[in-house]
Subunit: 193 residues, 2 copies
DNA sequence: CACCACTAACTATGTCGATAGGTAGTTTTG
DNA sequence: CAAAACTACCTATCGACATAGTTAGTGGTG
Protein backbone atom coordinates (compact mmCIF):
# COMPACT_ATOMS: atom_id res chain seq x y z
CA UNK A 1 0.00 0.00 0.00
CA UNK A 2 2.89 2.37 0.75
CA UNK A 3 4.33 2.05 -2.75
CA UNK A 4 1.02 3.10 -4.21
CA UNK A 5 0.89 6.19 -2.05
CA UNK A 6 4.50 7.09 -2.69
CA UNK A 7 3.54 7.07 -6.38
CA UNK A 8 0.53 9.27 -5.68
CA UNK A 9 2.73 11.70 -3.74
CA UNK A 10 4.87 12.19 -6.84
CA UNK A 11 2.10 12.14 -9.42
CA UNK A 12 -0.08 14.76 -7.74
CA UNK A 13 2.63 17.29 -8.62
CA UNK A 14 2.65 16.60 -12.34
CA UNK A 15 2.06 13.75 -14.80
CA UNK A 16 4.99 11.40 -15.14
CA UNK A 17 6.04 8.23 -16.93
CA UNK A 18 7.07 5.06 -15.14
CA UNK A 19 10.65 5.89 -15.96
CA UNK A 20 10.37 9.40 -14.45
CA UNK A 21 8.95 7.87 -11.30
CA UNK A 22 11.65 5.25 -11.17
CA UNK A 23 14.25 8.03 -11.21
CA UNK A 24 12.50 9.88 -8.39
CA UNK A 25 12.73 6.70 -6.37
CA UNK A 26 16.49 7.06 -6.50
CA UNK A 27 16.35 10.47 -4.86
CA UNK A 28 13.45 12.32 -3.21
CA UNK A 29 10.80 9.81 -2.17
CA UNK A 30 13.37 7.02 -2.37
CA UNK A 31 14.86 8.29 0.88
CA UNK A 32 11.80 7.14 2.77
CA UNK A 33 10.46 4.43 0.47
CA UNK A 34 12.62 2.40 -1.85
CA UNK A 35 11.18 0.61 -4.87
CA UNK A 36 12.73 -0.90 -8.02
CA UNK A 37 11.19 -0.21 -11.44
CA UNK A 38 10.05 -3.81 -11.65
CA UNK A 39 7.60 -2.96 -8.90
CA UNK A 40 6.64 0.46 -10.24
CA UNK A 41 5.45 -0.52 -13.73
CA UNK A 42 2.99 -3.23 -12.64
CA UNK A 43 1.69 -1.04 -9.82
CA UNK A 44 0.96 1.80 -12.27
CA UNK A 45 -1.02 -0.62 -14.42
CA UNK A 46 -2.97 -1.82 -11.42
CA UNK A 47 -3.71 1.73 -10.34
CA UNK A 48 -4.89 2.59 -13.82
CA UNK A 49 -7.15 -0.45 -13.95
CA UNK A 50 -8.67 0.71 -10.66
CA UNK A 51 -9.37 4.15 -12.08
CA UNK A 52 -6.92 5.91 -9.77
CA UNK A 53 -4.61 6.97 -12.58
CA UNK A 54 -5.07 7.66 -16.25
CA UNK A 55 -2.32 6.89 -18.73
CA UNK A 56 -1.77 8.67 -21.99
CA UNK A 57 0.48 7.58 -24.83
CA UNK A 58 2.65 10.46 -25.90
CA UNK A 59 5.17 10.49 -28.75
CA UNK A 60 8.84 10.60 -28.00
CA UNK A 61 11.14 11.32 -30.93
CA UNK A 62 10.17 10.18 -34.45
CA UNK A 63 9.08 6.63 -33.59
CA UNK A 64 9.24 6.29 -29.80
CA UNK A 65 6.22 6.40 -27.49
CA UNK A 66 5.91 6.69 -23.74
CA UNK A 67 3.06 6.43 -21.31
CA UNK A 68 2.44 9.38 -19.03
CA UNK A 69 0.21 8.92 -16.00
CA UNK A 70 -1.84 11.52 -14.16
CA UNK A 71 -3.90 11.15 -11.00
CA UNK A 72 -7.70 11.06 -11.35
CA UNK A 73 -10.07 12.60 -8.81
CA UNK A 74 -10.64 9.10 -7.42
CA UNK A 75 -6.88 8.77 -7.08
CA UNK A 76 -6.57 12.05 -5.18
CA UNK A 77 -9.36 10.96 -2.88
CA UNK A 78 -7.61 7.64 -2.25
CA UNK A 79 -4.36 9.44 -1.47
CA UNK A 80 -6.05 11.93 0.87
CA UNK A 81 -7.86 9.06 2.51
CA UNK A 82 -4.59 7.20 3.14
CA UNK A 83 -3.03 10.38 4.50
CA UNK A 84 -5.90 10.69 6.98
CA UNK A 85 -5.89 7.04 8.04
CA UNK A 86 -3.71 5.99 10.99
CA UNK A 87 -0.81 3.68 10.21
CA UNK A 88 -0.70 0.11 11.31
CA UNK A 89 2.62 -0.54 12.92
CA UNK A 90 4.45 -3.60 11.67
CA UNK A 91 6.44 -5.57 14.18
CA UNK A 92 10.16 -5.01 14.28
CA UNK A 93 12.55 -6.66 11.88
CA UNK A 94 15.91 -5.16 12.57
CA UNK A 95 18.95 -7.21 11.55
CA UNK A 96 21.45 -4.82 13.17
CA UNK A 97 19.80 -5.10 16.58
CA UNK A 98 19.23 -8.83 16.14
CA UNK A 99 22.96 -9.24 15.67
CA UNK A 100 23.79 -6.91 18.54
CA UNK A 101 21.76 -9.08 20.91
CA UNK A 102 24.03 -12.08 20.29
CA UNK A 103 27.32 -10.31 19.81
CA UNK A 104 29.02 -12.67 22.25
CA UNK A 105 29.08 -15.10 19.30
CA UNK A 106 31.17 -12.78 17.13
CA UNK A 107 34.90 -12.23 17.31
CA UNK A 108 35.54 -8.93 19.07
CA UNK A 109 37.32 -7.55 16.02
CA UNK A 110 34.53 -8.56 13.66
CA UNK A 111 32.04 -6.99 16.08
CA UNK A 112 34.02 -3.77 16.15
CA UNK A 113 34.23 -3.72 12.39
CA UNK A 114 30.49 -4.08 12.08
CA UNK A 115 29.78 -1.30 14.52
CA UNK A 116 32.18 0.92 12.64
CA UNK A 117 30.34 0.04 9.42
CA UNK A 118 27.10 0.92 11.17
CA UNK A 119 28.51 4.32 12.10
CA UNK A 120 29.79 4.88 8.57
CA UNK A 121 26.50 3.86 6.99
CA UNK A 122 24.47 6.23 9.13
CA UNK A 123 27.02 9.01 8.88
CA UNK A 124 26.65 8.78 5.11
CA UNK A 125 22.88 9.03 5.37
CA UNK A 126 23.18 11.93 7.77
CA UNK A 127 25.31 13.84 5.29
CA UNK A 128 22.87 13.16 2.46
CA UNK A 129 19.96 14.42 4.50
CA UNK A 130 21.74 17.50 5.75
CA UNK A 131 22.37 18.30 2.09
CA UNK A 132 18.69 17.73 1.27
CA UNK A 133 17.58 20.12 3.99
CA UNK A 134 20.05 22.68 2.67
CA UNK A 135 18.61 22.29 -0.85
CA UNK A 136 15.09 22.82 0.41
CA UNK A 137 16.08 25.82 2.49
CA UNK A 138 17.85 27.63 -0.31
CA UNK A 139 15.28 26.69 -2.93
CA UNK A 140 17.58 24.67 -5.15
CA UNK A 141 15.54 21.45 -5.06
CA UNK A 142 14.08 20.99 -8.56
CA UNK A 143 11.39 18.53 -7.50
CA UNK A 144 10.28 20.68 -4.59
CA UNK A 145 10.15 23.77 -6.79
CA UNK A 146 7.88 22.01 -9.28
CA UNK A 147 5.77 20.85 -6.33
CA UNK A 148 5.55 24.37 -4.91
CA UNK A 149 4.54 25.75 -8.34
CA UNK A 150 1.62 23.31 -8.23
CA UNK A 151 0.63 24.15 -4.67
CA UNK A 152 -1.74 26.96 -3.65
CA UNK A 153 0.19 29.83 -2.09
CA UNK A 154 -1.30 29.22 1.36
CA UNK A 155 0.02 25.65 1.45
CA UNK A 156 3.56 26.31 0.22
CA UNK A 157 4.99 26.90 3.66
CA UNK A 158 3.52 23.62 4.88
CA UNK A 159 4.85 21.72 1.89
CA UNK A 160 8.43 22.84 2.54
CA UNK A 161 8.13 22.57 6.31
CA UNK A 162 6.98 18.94 6.22
CA UNK A 163 9.79 17.94 3.85
CA UNK A 164 12.33 19.46 6.23
CA UNK A 165 10.56 17.91 9.18
CA UNK A 166 10.83 14.48 7.56
CA UNK A 167 14.54 14.81 6.88
CA UNK A 168 15.06 16.01 10.43
CA UNK A 169 13.38 12.84 11.65
CA UNK A 170 15.65 10.70 9.51
CA UNK A 171 18.58 12.66 10.87
CA UNK A 172 17.54 11.97 14.47
CA UNK A 173 17.30 8.27 13.66
CA UNK A 174 20.77 8.29 12.13
CA UNK A 175 22.21 10.21 15.06
CA UNK A 176 20.67 7.72 17.49
CA UNK A 177 22.18 4.81 15.54
CA UNK A 178 25.59 6.45 15.49
CA UNK A 179 25.56 7.20 19.21
CA UNK A 180 24.42 3.65 19.96
CA UNK A 181 27.16 2.11 17.83
CA UNK A 182 29.77 4.31 19.52
CA UNK A 183 28.59 3.08 22.91
CA UNK A 184 28.86 -0.43 21.48
CA UNK A 185 32.51 0.07 20.57
CA UNK A 186 33.24 1.17 24.13
CA UNK A 187 31.31 -1.80 25.48
CA UNK A 188 33.34 -4.25 23.38
CA UNK A 189 36.54 -2.68 24.70
CA UNK A 190 35.33 -2.93 28.24
CA UNK A 191 34.24 -6.58 27.89
CA UNK A 192 37.43 -7.63 26.12
CA UNK A 193 39.70 -5.40 28.20
CA UNK B 1 18.62 -15.09 6.24
CA UNK B 2 17.82 -13.22 9.46
CA UNK B 3 15.03 -15.62 10.40
CA UNK B 4 17.42 -18.52 10.13
CA UNK B 5 19.91 -16.82 12.42
CA UNK B 6 17.29 -15.74 14.90
CA UNK B 7 16.39 -19.45 15.13
CA UNK B 8 20.03 -20.36 15.64
CA UNK B 9 20.33 -17.75 18.39
CA UNK B 10 17.55 -19.50 20.29
CA UNK B 11 18.53 -23.07 19.51
CA UNK B 12 22.16 -22.74 20.57
CA UNK B 13 20.86 -22.39 24.15
CA UNK B 14 18.91 -25.62 24.22
CA UNK B 15 16.94 -27.92 21.89
CA UNK B 16 13.41 -26.72 21.15
CA UNK B 17 10.36 -27.62 19.12
CA UNK B 18 8.88 -25.37 16.45
CA UNK B 19 6.16 -24.46 18.88
CA UNK B 20 8.66 -23.46 21.59
CA UNK B 21 10.44 -21.28 19.07
CA UNK B 22 7.20 -19.74 17.90
CA UNK B 23 6.51 -18.68 21.49
CA UNK B 24 9.96 -17.15 21.86
CA UNK B 25 9.18 -15.08 18.78
CA UNK B 26 6.41 -13.44 20.76
CA UNK B 27 8.83 -12.25 23.43
CA UNK B 28 12.65 -12.28 23.49
CA UNK B 29 13.96 -12.47 19.97
CA UNK B 30 10.60 -11.30 18.66
CA UNK B 31 11.47 -7.80 19.83
CA UNK B 32 14.09 -7.50 17.15
CA UNK B 33 12.86 -10.04 14.61
CA UNK B 34 9.23 -10.96 14.16
CA UNK B 35 8.14 -14.19 12.50
CA UNK B 36 4.87 -16.15 12.40
CA UNK B 37 4.89 -19.92 12.94
CA UNK B 38 3.98 -20.44 9.29
CA UNK B 39 7.46 -19.24 8.48
CA UNK B 40 9.21 -21.03 11.32
CA UNK B 41 8.16 -24.62 10.58
CA UNK B 42 9.23 -24.66 6.92
CA UNK B 43 12.50 -22.91 7.80
CA UNK B 44 13.31 -25.56 10.40
CA UNK B 45 12.77 -28.27 7.78
CA UNK B 46 15.02 -26.46 5.34
CA UNK B 47 17.73 -26.05 7.98
CA UNK B 48 17.51 -29.72 8.85
CA UNK B 49 17.76 -30.73 5.20
CA UNK B 50 20.92 -28.61 4.96
CA UNK B 51 22.43 -30.37 7.96
CA UNK B 52 22.40 -27.29 10.17
CA UNK B 53 19.88 -28.73 12.60
CA UNK B 54 18.95 -32.21 13.68
CA UNK B 55 15.40 -33.08 14.63
CA UNK B 56 14.36 -35.77 17.04
CA UNK B 57 10.86 -37.17 17.53
CA UNK B 58 10.02 -37.23 21.19
CA UNK B 59 6.82 -38.51 22.79
CA UNK B 60 4.36 -36.07 24.27
CA UNK B 61 1.62 -37.57 26.44
CA UNK B 62 0.29 -41.07 25.69
CA UNK B 63 -0.12 -40.69 21.92
CA UNK B 64 1.27 -37.28 21.00
CA UNK B 65 4.69 -36.67 19.42
CA UNK B 66 6.75 -33.58 18.91
CA UNK B 67 9.89 -32.79 17.03
CA UNK B 68 12.75 -31.22 18.92
CA UNK B 69 15.59 -29.57 17.03
CA UNK B 70 19.17 -29.05 18.09
CA UNK B 71 21.98 -27.23 16.32
CA UNK B 72 24.71 -29.32 14.65
CA UNK B 73 28.36 -28.29 14.53
CA UNK B 74 27.76 -27.14 10.94
CA UNK B 75 24.88 -25.05 12.24
CA UNK B 76 26.99 -23.41 14.91
CA UNK B 77 29.65 -22.66 12.33
CA UNK B 78 27.03 -21.07 10.06
CA UNK B 79 25.72 -18.96 12.91
CA UNK B 80 29.19 -17.81 13.94
CA UNK B 81 29.97 -17.08 10.35
CA UNK B 82 26.88 -14.89 10.01
CA UNK B 83 27.76 -13.12 13.24
CA UNK B 84 31.20 -12.28 11.85
CA UNK B 85 29.96 -11.17 8.43
CA UNK B 86 29.09 -7.48 7.94
CA UNK B 87 25.44 -6.68 7.31
CA UNK B 88 24.16 -5.46 4.00
CA UNK B 89 22.04 -2.44 4.60
CA UNK B 90 18.65 -2.49 2.93
CA UNK B 91 17.30 0.77 1.62
CA UNK B 92 14.76 2.61 3.72
CA UNK B 93 11.10 1.70 3.75
CA UNK B 94 9.51 3.80 6.43
CA UNK B 95 5.76 4.42 6.14
CA UNK B 96 5.69 6.90 9.06
CA UNK B 97 8.30 9.14 7.49
CA UNK B 98 6.81 8.71 4.04
CA UNK B 99 3.54 10.05 5.37
CA UNK B 100 5.25 12.86 7.29
CA UNK B 101 6.82 14.11 4.07
CA UNK B 102 3.41 14.80 2.53
CA UNK B 103 1.50 15.82 5.62
CA UNK B 104 0.13 18.89 3.84
CA UNK B 105 -2.33 16.44 2.25
CA UNK B 106 -3.79 15.37 5.61
CA UNK B 107 -6.34 17.25 7.69
CA UNK B 108 -4.47 18.91 10.57
CA UNK B 109 -6.54 16.98 13.10
CA UNK B 110 -5.89 13.66 11.42
CA UNK B 111 -2.21 14.55 11.26
CA UNK B 112 -2.16 15.37 14.96
CA UNK B 113 -3.95 12.12 15.76
CA UNK B 114 -1.38 10.12 13.86
CA UNK B 115 1.54 11.80 15.58
CA UNK B 116 -0.10 11.14 18.92
CA UNK B 117 -0.51 7.48 17.89
CA UNK B 118 3.16 7.47 16.93
CA UNK B 119 4.07 8.74 20.38
CA UNK B 120 1.80 6.20 22.05
CA UNK B 121 3.16 3.33 19.99
CA UNK B 122 6.77 4.14 20.80
CA UNK B 123 5.99 4.94 24.43
CA UNK B 124 4.53 1.46 24.72
CA UNK B 125 7.65 -0.08 23.23
CA UNK B 126 9.84 2.01 25.50
CA UNK B 127 7.99 0.70 28.55
CA UNK B 128 8.31 -2.89 27.38
CA UNK B 129 12.02 -2.53 26.85
CA UNK B 130 12.66 -0.78 30.12
CA UNK B 131 10.93 -3.73 31.74
CA UNK B 132 13.11 -6.17 29.78
CA UNK B 133 16.28 -4.41 30.93
CA UNK B 134 15.02 -4.54 34.50
CA UNK B 135 14.40 -8.30 34.17
CA UNK B 136 17.89 -8.88 32.85
CA UNK B 137 19.46 -6.75 35.54
CA UNK B 138 17.73 -8.48 38.42
CA UNK B 139 18.10 -11.95 36.93
CA UNK B 140 14.41 -12.73 36.55
CA UNK B 141 14.53 -13.42 32.82
CA UNK B 142 13.88 -17.17 32.38
CA UNK B 143 15.26 -17.38 28.85
CA UNK B 144 18.39 -15.43 29.75
CA UNK B 145 18.98 -17.60 32.80
CA UNK B 146 18.80 -20.75 30.69
CA UNK B 147 21.16 -19.09 28.24
CA UNK B 148 23.61 -18.15 31.00
CA UNK B 149 23.52 -21.69 32.39
CA UNK B 150 24.69 -22.86 28.96
CA UNK B 151 27.39 -20.23 28.63
CA UNK B 152 30.97 -20.60 29.90
CA UNK B 153 31.50 -18.44 32.99
CA UNK B 154 33.88 -16.10 31.19
CA UNK B 155 31.23 -15.19 28.61
CA UNK B 156 28.28 -14.65 30.95
CA UNK B 157 28.98 -11.00 31.48
CA UNK B 158 29.10 -10.43 27.72
CA UNK B 159 25.90 -12.32 27.16
CA UNK B 160 23.94 -10.14 29.57
CA UNK B 161 25.69 -6.95 28.53
CA UNK B 162 24.85 -7.38 24.85
CA UNK B 163 21.19 -8.07 25.62
CA UNK B 164 20.99 -4.87 27.64
CA UNK B 165 22.92 -3.02 24.99
CA UNK B 166 20.40 -4.12 22.36
CA UNK B 167 17.40 -3.01 24.39
CA UNK B 168 19.12 0.31 25.05
CA UNK B 169 19.48 0.76 21.31
CA UNK B 170 15.79 0.07 20.80
CA UNK B 171 15.04 2.55 23.58
CA UNK B 172 17.11 5.25 21.88
CA UNK B 173 15.20 4.64 18.66
CA UNK B 174 11.88 4.91 20.46
CA UNK B 175 12.96 8.07 22.26
CA UNK B 176 14.04 9.63 18.98
CA UNK B 177 10.67 8.80 17.43
CA UNK B 178 8.79 10.26 20.38
CA UNK B 179 10.82 13.48 20.37
CA UNK B 180 10.34 13.80 16.62
CA UNK B 181 6.58 13.30 16.83
CA UNK B 182 6.35 15.89 19.62
CA UNK B 183 8.16 18.39 17.42
CA UNK B 184 5.68 17.47 14.70
CA UNK B 185 2.72 18.35 16.89
CA UNK B 186 4.24 21.76 17.55
CA UNK B 187 4.90 22.22 13.86
CA UNK B 188 1.28 21.45 12.96
CA UNK B 189 0.14 24.01 15.51
CA UNK B 190 2.49 26.60 14.11
CA UNK B 191 1.47 25.97 10.48
CA UNK B 192 -2.25 25.98 11.25
CA UNK B 193 -2.12 29.07 13.44
C1' DC C 1 28.29 7.05 -38.72
C1' DA C 2 29.46 4.02 -35.18
C1' DC C 3 29.22 3.81 -30.52
C1' DC C 4 27.43 4.45 -26.08
C1' DA C 5 24.83 6.23 -22.54
C1' DC C 6 20.38 7.11 -21.64
C1' DT C 7 15.28 6.74 -21.91
C1' DA C 8 11.48 3.69 -21.84
C1' DA C 9 9.05 -0.32 -20.49
C1' DC C 10 8.80 -4.45 -19.46
C1' DT C 11 9.19 -9.98 -17.95
C1' DA C 12 10.62 -13.85 -15.19
C1' DT C 13 11.90 -16.13 -11.12
C1' DG C 14 12.39 -16.88 -6.51
C1' DT C 15 12.10 -15.75 -1.75
C1' DC C 16 10.00 -13.47 2.06
C1' DG C 17 6.25 -12.47 4.74
C1' DA C 18 1.18 -11.66 6.00
C1' DT C 19 -2.97 -13.85 6.68
C1' DA C 20 -5.93 -17.30 7.27
C1' DG C 21 -7.06 -21.37 7.68
C1' DG C 22 -6.93 -26.80 9.21
C1' DT C 23 -6.05 -31.11 12.19
C1' DA C 24 -4.96 -33.66 16.23
C1' DG C 25 -3.59 -34.36 20.59
C1' DT C 26 -3.17 -32.60 25.74
C1' DT C 27 -4.06 -30.20 29.91
C1' DT C 28 -6.81 -27.36 32.82
C1' DT C 29 -10.95 -25.94 34.96
C1' DG C 30 -15.74 -25.23 36.07
C1' DC D 1 -16.46 -35.19 32.50
C1' DA D 2 -17.33 -31.82 29.02
C1' DA D 3 -15.78 -27.64 27.41
C1' DA D 4 -12.17 -24.56 26.78
C1' DA D 5 -7.55 -23.40 26.33
C1' DC D 6 -3.26 -24.72 25.01
C1' DT D 7 0.35 -27.50 22.55
C1' DA D 8 1.94 -29.07 18.24
C1' DC D 9 2.40 -28.88 13.39
C1' DC D 10 1.12 -27.88 9.32
C1' DT D 11 -0.89 -25.99 4.41
C1' DA D 12 -2.49 -22.72 1.06
C1' DT D 13 -2.75 -18.38 -0.94
C1' DC D 14 -1.47 -13.81 -1.94
C1' DG D 15 1.09 -9.80 -2.25
C1' DA D 16 5.69 -7.58 -1.57
C1' DC D 17 10.45 -7.37 -2.87
C1' DA D 18 14.97 -8.63 -4.72
C1' DT D 19 17.48 -9.70 -8.62
C1' DA D 20 18.36 -10.23 -13.11
C1' DG D 21 17.49 -10.02 -17.69
C1' DT D 22 15.14 -8.41 -22.23
C1' DT D 23 13.79 -5.29 -26.06
C1' DA D 24 13.69 -1.07 -28.48
C1' DG D 25 14.19 3.64 -29.48
C1' DT D 26 16.79 8.32 -28.66
C1' DG D 27 20.43 11.62 -28.57
C1' DG D 28 24.96 13.08 -28.02
C1' DT D 29 30.24 12.38 -28.79
C1' DG D 30 34.48 11.13 -31.16
Amino acid sequence: MSLRNALFALLVVEPMTGYDLHKQFESSVGHVWHAPDSQIYPELKRMESEGLLEGEEIPWGPRGRKRQYHVTEAGKAAFRNWMNTPLEYARTRDPAHLKAAYLEWADPDAAREQLRAHIEHHTGLLGQWREKVREIEDGSSAMLNRRLANTPKADREKTSAYKIYTYEGLMSQAEAEIAWARRGLKLIDRLNG
